[in-house]
Each structure stands twice: as C-alpha cells, then as structure tokens.
C-alpha cells in the first residue's frame, strides 16, 4: 500500500490545510535544526579551527584512512568467515541425520542469542589464556562477528533452501540424482539468488558491528576517528563524530542500495523458483504476516546490533 492511499487527493480546503501544516512543520523542523545549530554555536562547535583538521590531507592519511582500513579489514575477513560458517551450519540444520541437525541447531540458536559484545569480550580474554600473550583485538572482533552473523546467515541459508519450490527437489530425485547432487545442482543455485538480498543486509549489520571493536580498543574507524583524533586535535570531538558518522552512513547505505537492487533483480529473475526471502533484520511479514520461515521471532533479535 502506498502512503498516498491514506488520504484523498486534496481538495481546495485540504490543500489550504496541508499548506498550513507544511508551514507549521517547516517551522517545527526548522526550530529543531536551529536549536541544534545554536546549541552547537553556544559551545563554539562551528569555530573554523576545530573543523580545520578535516580539510588537511594529513588528518585523513594518518587517522581516518588507517581506521577505515581497520574497519574494512575486520568486516571483510569476518564476512567471508561468517558466510562459510553460515553455509556449513545452515546446510547442517537441513541434514537428514538427527546427530548433525540437532547440534547445528543448538549452536546456531545459542550464538544468535548471546549479546555480541559479551561474546567479543569473552574471546578477547580467553585468547591470551589459550594461545599466550599477544594482540587479540582483531581476532576477537572477527571471531565474534563470525559466530554471531554466521548464525544469522545459517538461518538465511536454511530459509533460502526451504523457499525453493518442492517440485524442484522432487523432480531432481525423480531423474535419479543423489542428495548431494540435488542440493548442489538444483537447490543451492536457486536458493542463492533468493538469499542474496538478505545476505547483503546482514553484511551491513556486520559492517556496523565492527564498531564494537572500539570498546576493546581495536584500531577501527571509530577508534582512530573518535578517540585518537580528538585527543590530537583538542576540541574536534563533535566535528570528528559528524565526519565519521557520515562515512559510516555512506558505506552502509551503499551496501543497502546494493541489497535493494539485488532484491529487485532477483524478483524479476525467472531462473529461480524461490521468492526472495526477507532480510533477517527486517520483520518477516508480508503475505504470510509472520508465518514465514523466519516468523515467530523466537530466540533472537536480528539485524539491530
């Protein structure tokens, strides 16, 4: 339902009223913006000298880019590992053997339910005890992200394979394929198309979650931009927050657009019999109002961290 259905095409009186409402809301939004502006102004946050560092190449070269690189490195490694983890456990949950299916299900449900920060802390403190002293910040962030997002992706994989029409696997078995062949040649290629948007949305979540590394002092964008940089350029805390906020939003929105584009493409696609599955972060409603493969909302909140 498009939003315009909520109200009629405005007549003369409604147009006047809407114009008045528009003026009122412009004033309201304007007042809010002005409030923020003058609040900043009162504390001298628009002074040129605290914004100056961001116009200099050195700031970007020594603080922002290394941090961005740290964020992207952690996100890239964790994405690959989480995809592998998700594929393995998602398929394991679909196994015909109970002794594979049940343990995989337990692993997925447990890691989805653990707050990610606790997991990262635990790995961070456990690693030196197991593997001797060293710098484990990168490892803790990556492994934590892998376990949590991998578990969410496992659900995506499972939902994706289940969303392929039943006739497909029946036909494949009928022409004499083995289980392995049915999965590899028939179900997975179709499921991947359906899963793609959901996977990309989960990767946005993963990219955002790398910022948790800030808390254990992993050198990421948030750390260099929000801790080290303001310490070097005194007073630049708020400009720094705005600049790195813009970078995060731009990165994530670019990925989100990719997800939307992929979704539109796979909706058009005739190569798969599977409808695109809902991204785990977004509510799984639509035609089936909460009865989809992910419905019910049991055991884990998804997508927000």
């Amino acid at each position: 339902m498009s939003t315009s259905v909520l109200f009629d095409v405005p007549g003369p009186r409604a147009r006047t009223r809407n114009a008045l409402l528009t003026v009122a809301s412009v004033i309201l939004v304007g007042a809010a913006l002005y409030g923020i502006y003058s609040g900043f102004d009162a504390k001298g946050q628009w002074r040129a000298e605290i914004w100056q560092p961001f116009l200099e190449w050195e700031t970007w070269e020594f603080y922002i880019f290394p941090g961005l690189l740290g964020t992207l490195r952690a996100a890239a490694v964790a994405s690959v590992l989480a995809l592998v983890f998700g594929a393995v456990f998602g398929l394991a949950r679909l196994s015909d053997h109970r002794w594979i299916r049940v343990p995989a299900g337990v692993v997925v449900e447990v890691f989805r339910a653990i707050p990610l920060l606790l997991l990262i802390f635990f790995i961070f403190y456990l690693a030196p005890a197991v593997a001797g002293p060293g710098d484990y910040t990168f490892m803790a962030v990556v492994v934590g992200l892998m376990l949590y997002n991998g578990s969410v992706l496992a659900e995506v994989v499972r939902a994706g394979v289940l969303s392929v029409a039943k006739g497909q696997s029946e036909a494949a078995y009928a022409i004499g394929m083995r289980k392995n062949q049915v999965m590899r040649l028939v179900l997975l290629p179709q499921a991947v198309t359906a899963m793609m948007p959901a996977i990309v949305s989960q990767l946005v979540v993963l990219l955002k979650d790398t910022a948790l590394g800030y808390i254990i002092a992993y050198v990421d964008l948030l750390n260099t931009g929000f801790k080290i940089l303001p310490a070097r350029f005194f007073g630049s805390l708020i400009p720094a927050a705005i600049v790195i906020g813009v970078i995060y939003v731009a990165l994530n929105m670019a990925l989100s657009f990719l997800a939307t584009w992929l979704e539109r493409r796979s909706r058009r696609s005739r190569k798969t019999s599977a409808a695109p599955i809902e991204p785990p972060g977004q509510p799984a409603i639509g035609a089936g109002a909460g009865t989809g493969p992910q419905g019910g909302g049991v055991a884990a909140g998804r997508g927000m961290e």
């Binding site: 606790l118 948030l222 929105m253 997508g303």
Partner: protein, 222 residues
C-alpha cells in the same frame, strides 16, 4: 565455578541495570517509533522527509557511535545533563541513545506493518469520511500493530541484547562492564560468561515466546 559464585552479586546487580535500561528503552522507543512512522506516512512532505532522513541516518550508524557520541559529545561537550550524579546521568544518556537508535527500527517494523493492511481498509476509512489522523488512529495503526507484534518482539530482543553496549556510553554499572571487570581480575572465566548468557537468554527467550504467542492470538484473520 567459584568465580561465578564470588562475582554473582556484582553481576546480578549489573544485570538489573540491563533490565532497567531495557524497560526504559522499550517504552520510549515504542513511543518515538510510533511518532516517526506517523511522520513517514503523513500528507506533509516536510515531515515525511524529516522522518525518512532520521531513520536512514540512525539505522546506518553503529550503536557504539550513537552511544559514544551521546556521552562524550552531547553530555560532556554540549552540556546535556540529566543528573548531577555521574552514574545516574550516564544511565539516562545511554537510555536516550538506545531509545533514539531503537526507535528507527520500531518505525521500520511498523511501516512494514502498515503495508500489510489491505488497501480496502484505508479506502473504506476515507469513504466514511475519516480524516488522515482518524483513519491512522482508528483503522490503520491498530491493524498494523497487530501484524508486527512478532517483528517488534525481535526488535525488543535485539534492544535487550544491545543494552550491553552501554559501556560505550560511559555507563559502567551493567553486566558487560562487570563481566569485563571480573575478567580483569581472574581472567576469562567460562562459568561467569555462561552465567550472564543464561541470564540474558532467561529474558530474551520468554520475550520471544510471549510475542510469538501474542502475534498468533492477535493476527488479523483475512
């Protein structure tokens, strides 16, 4: 195991703070999210744009940045202070950041709920002469809320788990910070970790179960 017993009182007190944060966050984010969704479907383009902008910016910003900015930026630099007592102040700063963050997700959940309300409902509401606010209040939102009970439950569960990030907002009295403190003293302890995880699951699983049940009970039969 003795580590867990030794630190149990601290951890329990910390966990209580997580629960308090969750309750405050749940109430304020639901209210804020509802206001945001009303803005996003309103006939006034300015409000639509403002709502969309807010949701897209907040949704794509890491919670860690939102909380760190609330504490270091809004509170320390710009002088937004809820209480002279630092511990209480940081509690409310974190509660505010968490609600502002969660509200964006509540708004998105509700908006997809509005999309499940059949066209005919809105058309019928208009046909009997209800205004925008009336049809939203009496026809659309009640059905939208009922359709998104389960997704809202997921949002709330994620928020409960997100209360552990409070330490980024300078609030160090909750269980993640307490766990870190105990690890600093005795090293990584599996019983302590599992204890907190079980405590969180003891809250999130019933919330999921309850909202799932409620969703089935309230589902609009069509």
């Amino acid at each position: 195991m003795e580590d867990l017993i030794r630190y149990a009182p601290d951890l329990a007190l910390g966990f209580l703070e997580n629960i308090k944060l969750s309750i405050v966050g749940a109430i304020t984010s639901l209210i804020l999210g509802t206001i945001l969704v009303a803005m996003r479907v309103s006939p006034t383009p300015v409000l639509r744009v403002a709502g969309t902008f807010y949701v897209n910016v907040i949704r794509n910003t890491p919670l860690t940045l939102v909380l760190a900015f609330s504490a270091l930026g809004l509170s320390d630099q710009l002088g937004l202070v809820f209480s002279a007592e630092p511990r209480i102040n940081s509690f409310w700063i974190v509660a505010m950041g968490l609600s502002a963050y969660t509200a964006a997700f509540v708004c998105e959940a509700l908006r997809s709920g509005i999309n499940t309300v059949p066209l005919g409902q809105a058309e019928a509401a208009r046909a009997i002469g209800l205004t925008f606010m009336q049809s939203l209040r009496m026809i659309i939102l009640p059905q939208a809320f009922r359709a998104v009970v389960a997704p809202l439950g997921s949002v709330m569960i994620a928020m409960i788990k997100n209360t552990t990030v409070a330490v980024a907002g300078g609030f160090a009295a909750e269980s993640a910070a307490n766990m870190k403190e105990s690890f600093d003293q005795v090293g990584a302890s599996i019983p302590i970790f599992l204890g907190i995880v079980v405590a969180f699951m003891a809250v999130t699983l019933p919330v999921g179960w309850f909202t799932g049940r409620l969703a089935r009970r309230l589902a609009v039969a069509r």
